[in-house]
Symmetry: C2
Subunit: 310 residues, 2 copies
């Protein structure tokens, strides 16, 4: 195999009570990438379609992630990457992570899978750091592992793959506004009340239990964020209205995807997801803000191979 | 049945990353209580052996918990309670909780079990409030439910019963010093760094996952407290030495039991627990401080019936 085409899905990070650690993988929405071996060493981004992003390898998250892997692998050949971007940068569903994860996933396949999923996550974090300024894995891990993932720690990197209940769907609404990552960060307090922290970890503990026991009602009672949402939701117009409409239509949970502006909901079953999607659309339809929505089953496989040349 | 004798075990609360929410149930160490129906309504504490505690029902945690239950049940008879206390008050392993939990458990049996475990926890919390000044369930829940419990919230009360790996043992060392609850509380900051809170909830999330998957190594990597231990451990002489010796001898985790002064460790298997117990004893043997230790398998049954008169 000298060429591979993959689908690298969008992901949701900062899932309610799991701020900075819990994420899940979407389906149907994602980037496509073609990676092929080249005689020349190093990494070349030969094409980017969809959005205007740097093609210089050291300035592109996919390139930086690939270079981190190659620095370790030291093959006597190189790689050429084509990126067909469908995830809008800055939308809050892991656009840069999808590029970084996809690139190392594809190269690992072309090398005969020498690296574990955790190692791939580690390399992809190097790319993510270029985009966000710090090494995060909470969007990368769900792309590489699939389903729900908990990043227990980044140094040393440890990713916990959580079980995903069979009938779990996500709905995303992306209001077309810009939230600067710097602003989303600056709005967070450095210190939080111990009382709120306790509430948050109790909820994360019971959420993990609910995922293990397929207990949708416990999942619903646990998908609460008392720490970050009160601050960041101020940056998203009509956030409270969207959330209320989601809950009124049976959503299990609703929160800010990543650092926004996208809003996610989790739902039990496809028909509930469709109903919630309609209700969320209705809220923004009454405003001047452009938006798009999509719903899908939680993607438990993560990044997938579309084709290879062998 | 008009009379019941029960064993109400000691418990560990504030388990490492699960401060204020996570507890587990011990075995072999606990109070015995005899509760019998009386023609007279109300609650009478007819005997307390072991420690000097108030026998007036409204001033005794067992009495207050029983009265809370009876206010709801409204039977046309009453109860007499004998308490044979073996858990030293103030030792940090749920002495008051054992009395409060045992009393409502026994009365519920004598009434034909009208109440759920969660309801019993609720009534026992009323007794616990007398001892601690606020309603906590993190020592009560493991006694009533057995095994590891997560108190997801107290208002409304929701207890999550977590799975207990088969071969999980606990070791307790109780240095005979007094830590005032007020001091243990005052030493805690009201606010904590968001960064530390994130570490804590990541660890609690992976601990719950480890309990579900019998993954002792993940449990070990998760039994970390970056929020409370740095403060409260200062109140316990030789804490760091005990912890180091426990880890050097293979303990999965080591932390402050409740608000101290007892220190707990969790171990995989009985022989490891015995080795850890010896190592911890050795630390305090070299000091002037009197102490005692015990080790046991985690008690997954909780409070148990010793005998009834039918």
């Amino acid at each position: 195999m000298t060429e591979i085409k993959i689908f690298s899905p969008a992901t949701v990070a900062n899932v309610s009570c799991g701020f900075d650690v819990l994420g899940f993988c979407l389906d149907g929405v994602g980037d496509e990438m073609i990676v092929r071996k080249t005689k020349d060493k190093g990494v070349k981004i030969s094409k980017i379609e969809g959005y205007d992003l740097p093609t210089e390898a050291t300035k592109n998250v996919a390139g930086v992630a690939a270079l981190a892997l190659l620095e370790d692998a030291q093959p006597d050949f190189g790689f050429e990457i084509e990126i067909y971007k469908h995830i809008k940068p800055g939308s809050g569903v892991g656009s840069s992570s999808a590029s970084a994860s996809g690139s190392v996933f594809a190269i690992n396949e072309l090398l005969g899978r020498p690296y574990s999923k955790t190692q791939l996550t580690y390399f992809a974090m190097k790319g993510e750091a270029l985009a966000s300024g710090s090494e995060h894995a909470d969007n990368i891990a769900p792309g590489i592992f699939g389903g729900f993932t908990l990043v227990k720690s980044t140094a040393p990197l440890e990713v916990v793959q959580l079980p995903t209940p069979d009938d779990m769907f996500a709905v995303i609404i992306h209001p077309q506004i810009e939230i600067k990552t710097s602003e989303a960060r600056a709005i967070l307090p450095k210190d939080i009340p111990l009382k709120n922290a306790i509430t948050q970890w109790a909820n994360l503990g019971s959420l993990v239990h609910g995922l293990h026991t397929n207990d949708y009602q416990m999942i619903k009672r646990s998908l609460i964020d008392v720490v970050v949402e009160p601050y960041r939701s101020q940056l998203i117009p009509y956030y409270d209205e969207v959330k209320l409409s989601a809950f009124n239509n049976g959503a299990l949970g609703c929160g800010i995807s990543g650092s926004g502006p996208s809003i996610f909901t989790l739902c039990q079953g496809q028909s509930q997801a469709q109903q919630v999607e309609l209700a969320m659309r209705e809220v923004y339809s009454k405003t001047e803000i452009a938006f798009n929505t999509y719903s899908c089953k939680i993607n438990t496989a993560g990044i997938r191979i579309l084709s290879t040349n062998v």
